[in-house]
Amino acid sequence: MTTTPTGDLTVVTAGAAMFADTLRSQGVATTEVSWLPPVAGSEGALTSVMLDRRRTAANAQALDAMTAAGASLVDVRPARDALGLDAGHFLHAGPPIDWERMSGPLRGALVGAVVYEGLVETPEQAERRLAAGDFSFEPAHHLGAVGPMAGVVSPSMWMFELHDDVHDRRSWCSLNEGLGKVLRYGAYSPDVIDRLRWMGDVLGPALQTATRSAGPIDVLAIVAQMIQMGDEGHNRNRAGTLMLLKEWLPALIRSGLPTDDVAAVVEFVSGNDHFFLNVVMPACKLMTVAGNGVPGSTVVTTMARNGTDFGIQVSGLGDRWFTGPAQVAEGLYLANFGPDDANPDIGDSAITETAGIGGFAMATAPAIVRFVGGTVADALATTRRMYDLCVGENRRWALPIMDFRGTPTGIDATSVLRTGQLPQINTGMAGRVAGVGQVGAGLVSPPMECFEAAVEGLAEAVPPTA
């Protein structure tokens, strides 16, 4: 008050509208909160967490770490080398789950991976032995890796390897197989397995050569450009894919590989608009993991789904999962598929929203707003709403349509509970039945239960006041 001359007072008001009215009648500018009660039952935990004296600084620290992280593509190599994955061990998307509760597409992808690894002869055998517990699996997140949709990784699959040179940390993701009938959507027919073999025999080694020659490739810089070119980094990766290909091309051409192989690799990459998604995801994982583990921070550092459960992690509680039932996306369906054919939400790709792009950057991707069931105005409003759920912005990723504001970054679990507004995720939809593949794409939200449980956990971890 000592530095505010009369007439310059502006007041934020929350609650009774009459107080804003009386301020305006005195000529005072007001900004009124569009206040709603917090999610019922969460009041006590929210109060404890909001009153945690560490919260503001901890969230700033988590945001700083996220936005300071680096992410460069440094190598492409098989999972057994990159992640030390042993034969018979597999990774999958989302929080932990056992075979019994697993959805069709995740089971299908594991079946395909077991077949691909040559551990069995037929899908039927694979299913039997998986059900018998002959093979082990765990979330990719547990090893710092991520996978789209089913996210299944087996030792022979080739992985993108990204490095954060600021925090000296690595993350990995498999190579994108394309759209339609593919393993990550739970398909395991012979053509799916054949494609995986070609990826292991030709694509992986060629990209390894190109990456080792051209790299490290600054993935965050490509993302910064792609989001100014109509990509939001989750459901649209067209510009990013071409920019990555551009980085590789000279090295591919000079590689001495057979011309037909080089051409096939270029055709495969350029023919799949989502190829770059599998590079964006580990880059986002490097960002979010950099912000993880700050005591008192309410920032969400993981959102991931396994087709049955939606799981989140929050910075203040490190690697603990908080889960709720995965929802079915709303959107558009391919061919004759409809809502009954869609599996609940699946995949680690919500790491993009966790890092501030995907649905959060919807405003920058008007080309796909109709595909995910909305108008351009909806897209702008979505990004604006996401700013209000986040602790800050990522200045490295500026959105031209938002007057070059940075992407909304660092979902605050308390803001979700307080406003009842959920993070928006852009997503593909897998068929409910193993083997079907992709049935559509659309929008989905996490279940509120995840955030309720996470804030409950954060409240229990608030140190008693002295």
């Binding site: 505010t4 929350a14 107080f19 301020l23 009153l51 503001t56 209000d388 504001r405």
Partner: protein, 489 residues
């Protein structure tokens, strides 16, 4: 001539933005040439042609910064301006920034230059919103009541961590830079600043000062529990420091119930260390009433004290029976009881003084009875009686029909936020009643309701109206028959 070339990797910016920054740097004194651009082939060649040394190796994802200037200082200044331009938040503008209603205090704070938040959300969750305001770097006034005391302490600790101020909880009134927040009277600007643990007490003091021609620029409410043993004056001390730093303030007044002894010592010691003279206006048994405190403050500013006004006709003859006080302001009710107890002995109330009788939940009168309709327990799920007079009007009808009731005393608090015309509602009930009604009217000339108009309406209906609550109480007491007094058999 000094030249510098830097390569910053991983710092992608769009070319238009960088061209704007380059242009800005070139206009700085002493700067001959400046190029800030992504290290594309074209830009590296441009660098060459400007006569800068080409950096060893660059990629198009690197940012080039090249400056040629008269001396090292000019280069340093250019780099400083560059950093500022690169980190500056873009001006919020267009529909992008403001189109969605802010769902939280933080979201609202980001859309506004505000440094203060006024929270009036339900008490059970108000601490959440107040903590959000503090996290956003705002001072906060918590109007909400029924906030747990441990949450109050936590909020005030958070505020102290960040050099911020918590007003409240249960802070009914504040004036900041002459602007009224919550229930606030329109007072003339002036040299007095108030720190108030009491809402209506502060309003009454401000109104009395205004009536005496002395202005108030700030009134910082701290909440009724601030000077308790538990909260230990956290906001009072912070407010004293803020007000002491304001050169327009020449006199500070603290208005509160008497603090716990060691908290009183804390406040006294703190006040002694301020450069601004501070009046400790504690209210309680054996202490000056609010009107006497107002006189002290007026005289401390060098102005001349005038007795507060009275409206209405001659006093009627004393009547036997009970005094019934129906209040909307807790401190006004307290003060009236303190004065009345001296004549009447212990009183019955829903907020009894020490030695008084606590009313049953149905609030039925027991002899001389005072009810504070603004008490927390009567405002759960219901607007404050200063906004919604229904409950008190109902009770007034009961009292004037009660043969054991000799005199009714009421308070009417004017100002922003208060009912637009309580006097008219009350006047209808007063006009029809035989029972004398004495009103303590807290307000100013410039209040939206206008003290003069409200006083005329009430007096016109037959009420006796005082601008001083203490004077109103004394006149009400004088209307009671002799055997109502405690020293009579």
């Amino acid at each position: 001539m000094t030249r510098t070339v830097e390569v910053r990797s991983g710092a992608y910016r769009d070319s238009v933005g960088l061209m704007q920054i380059s242009t800005q740097l070139r206009t700085l004194p002493g700067v001959e040439a400046a190029l800030v651009a992504m290290a594309t082939e074209l830009n590296v060649e441009l660098l060459d042609s400007m006569g800068f040394d080409r950096p060893a190796s660059t990629s198009p994802n690197d940012m080039l910064v090249a400056i040629e200037a008269a001396d090292d200082d000019a280069v340093a200044e250019a780099l400083r301006v560059l950093e500022a331009a690169l980190t500056a938040a873009p001006a919020p503008g267009g529909e992008g920034a403001t189109d969605v209603a802010p769902p939280t205090v933080l979201a609202a704070a980001r859309r506004s230059p505000a440094r203060l938040a006024l929270i009036s959300t339900p008490g059970a969750v108000a601490a959440i919103d107040a903590a959000d305001a503090l996290g956003a770097g705002l001072d906060v006034m918590v109007f909400s009541d029924n906030v747990a005391v441990e949450h109050e302490i936590a909020l005030k600790e958070m505020a102290a961590d960040n050099g911020l101020l918590v007003m409240g909880p249960d802070c009914g009134t504040a004036v900041i830079d002459g602007i009224g927040l919550g229930f606030a009277n329109v007072v003339r600007p002036g040299p007095v600043a108030i720190v108030a643990a009491s809402g209506t007490g502060a309003q009454h003091l401000m109104a009395l000062l205004d009536g005496a021609g002395v202005g108030v620029t700030h009134c910082v409410g701290v909440g009724g529990r601030d000077l308790s043993d538990q909260v230990r004056g956290r906001s009072t001390l912070a407010a004293l420091d803020r007000l002491d730093a304001d050169d327009s303030v020449t006199t500070i007044v603290v208005v509160s119930k008497p603090p716990a002894d060691d908290v009183a010592d804390l406040v006294t010691a703190h006040a002694d260390g301020l450069r601004t003279p501070t009046v400790l206006g504690y209210l309680g048994p054996g202490r000056p009433d609010i009107t006497a405190t107002a006189q002290r403050v007026v005289e401390a500013t060098g102005a001349t004290w005038q007795q507060p006004r009275r409206w209405g006709g001659d006093a009627p003859l004393p009547r036997d029976g009970d005094l019934r006080g129906l209040f909307t302001g807790g401190t006004l009710c307290d003060e009236a009881m303190l004065i009345a107890t001296q004549q009447l002995g212990p009183l019955a109330s829903n907020i009894p003084l020490a030695g008084g009788t606590r009313l049953d939940a149905d609030l039925a009168s027991q002899g001389h009875t005072f009810i504070d309709f603004g008490d927390d327990q009567l405002t759960v799920g219901r607007p404050h009686p200063m906004i919604d007079p229904t409950l008190r009007l109902e009770r007034l009808a009961v009292e004037v029909a009660d043969p054991s009731c000799a005199v009714v005393m009421l308070d009417v608090v004017l100002g922003h936020g208060a009912h637009t015309d309580q006097a008219t509602d009350l006047a209808a009930a007063i006009r029809d009643a035989d029972t004398p009604v004495v009103v303590s009217l807290v307000g100013t000339r410039d209040d939206p309701q206008g003290i003069e108009a409200q006083a005329q309406t009430l007096a016109g209906a037959g009420a006796i109206v005082h601008a001083s609550n203490a004077a109103a109480t004394r006149e009400a007491l004088s209307l009671l028959g002799q055997h109502a007094h405690k020293d009579m058999p």
